[in-house]
């Protein structure tokens, strides 16, 4: 039972263009969503989060959009840079009932070409 899904295993984008990473979830009790970035041989690094009471959160080049009715969130990176090349994981939690326990998607490997 995959509660959080990232259907694209990989994405390739030209430097300077927009990268859009997508994530779908099935559990309507999720109230907090996060994106993590992971380089090889390192642990995931927190990028940006959004509460279910919002539909958008922005931090520099990174913006996360949440569509609760569609149970869908996306991460936009503008402009994309070669250093953004990594695996991106979306994660969700039901903080009201399950505290900080995170359910992760399978990840999308982003490659930004110079």
């Amino acid at each position: 039972d995959q509660q959080v899904k990232q259907n694209s295993p990989s994405l390739s984008v030209q430097e300077g263009r927009i990268s859009i990473l997508n994530c779908d979830y099935t559990n309507s009790m999720f109230d907090y969503f996060l994106w993590y970035k992971k380089y090889p041989a390192e642990g995931p690094t927190f990028l940006i989060s959004i509460s279910s009471i919002k539909d958008k959160n922005e931090d520099g080049r990174f913006t996360v959009f949440l569509n609760k009715s569609a149970k869908h969130l996306s991460l936009h990176i503008v402009p994309s840079q070669p250093g953004d090349s990594a695996v991106y994981f979306c994660a969700a939690s039901d903080r009201g009932n399950q505290g900080g326990k995170l359910i992760f998607g399978q990840g999308t490997e982003l490659s930004v070409k110079p």
């Binding site: 927190f46 994660a91 903080r95 900080g100 326990k101 995170l102 399978q106 990840g107």
Partner: protein
């Protein structure tokens, strides 16, 4: 150190042996989490501590897995009678509270041969 520290970074053990993996969370973080990541997958939740107590251990796969956090800081994940299927990267994370973002360590790569 400033971040979450996990030791060892790599561990190779023989099938049937016992292993202990250690996690040093960020100072002052009361919540601590263990996850396991297999190749090509996202991290999979194992157990979560709030202070010294296990608030949720629903992700532990079976009774060969056990974790402790006796003083509310360092945690140890213990695996008995290891199996080849236990091979994975074991990740530890900590957060200031259950409602704030978690910060991950670099992981321990466990290989059972």
């Amino acid at each position: 150190g400033a971040g979450v520290s996990q030791t060892p970074s790599n561990k190779v053990t023989e099938k049937g042996k016992y292993v202990e993996l250690r996690c040093d969370p960020i100072s002052g973080h009361t919540a601590l989490y263990w996850y396991r990541q297999s190749l090509g997958q996202g991290p999979e939740f194992l157990i979560y501590f709030q202070g010294t107590g296990a608030a949720d251990d629903s992700g532990l796969p079976n009774d060969r897995f056990f974790a402790v956090r006796p003083e509310g800081s360092v945690s140890t994940l213990k695996i008995q009678r290891t199996e080849r299927g236990d091979s994975a990267v074991y990740l530890c994370a900590s957060s200031r509270s259950p409602n704030t973002e978690a910060f991950f360590g670099q992981g321990t790569r466990l290989t059972v041969v």
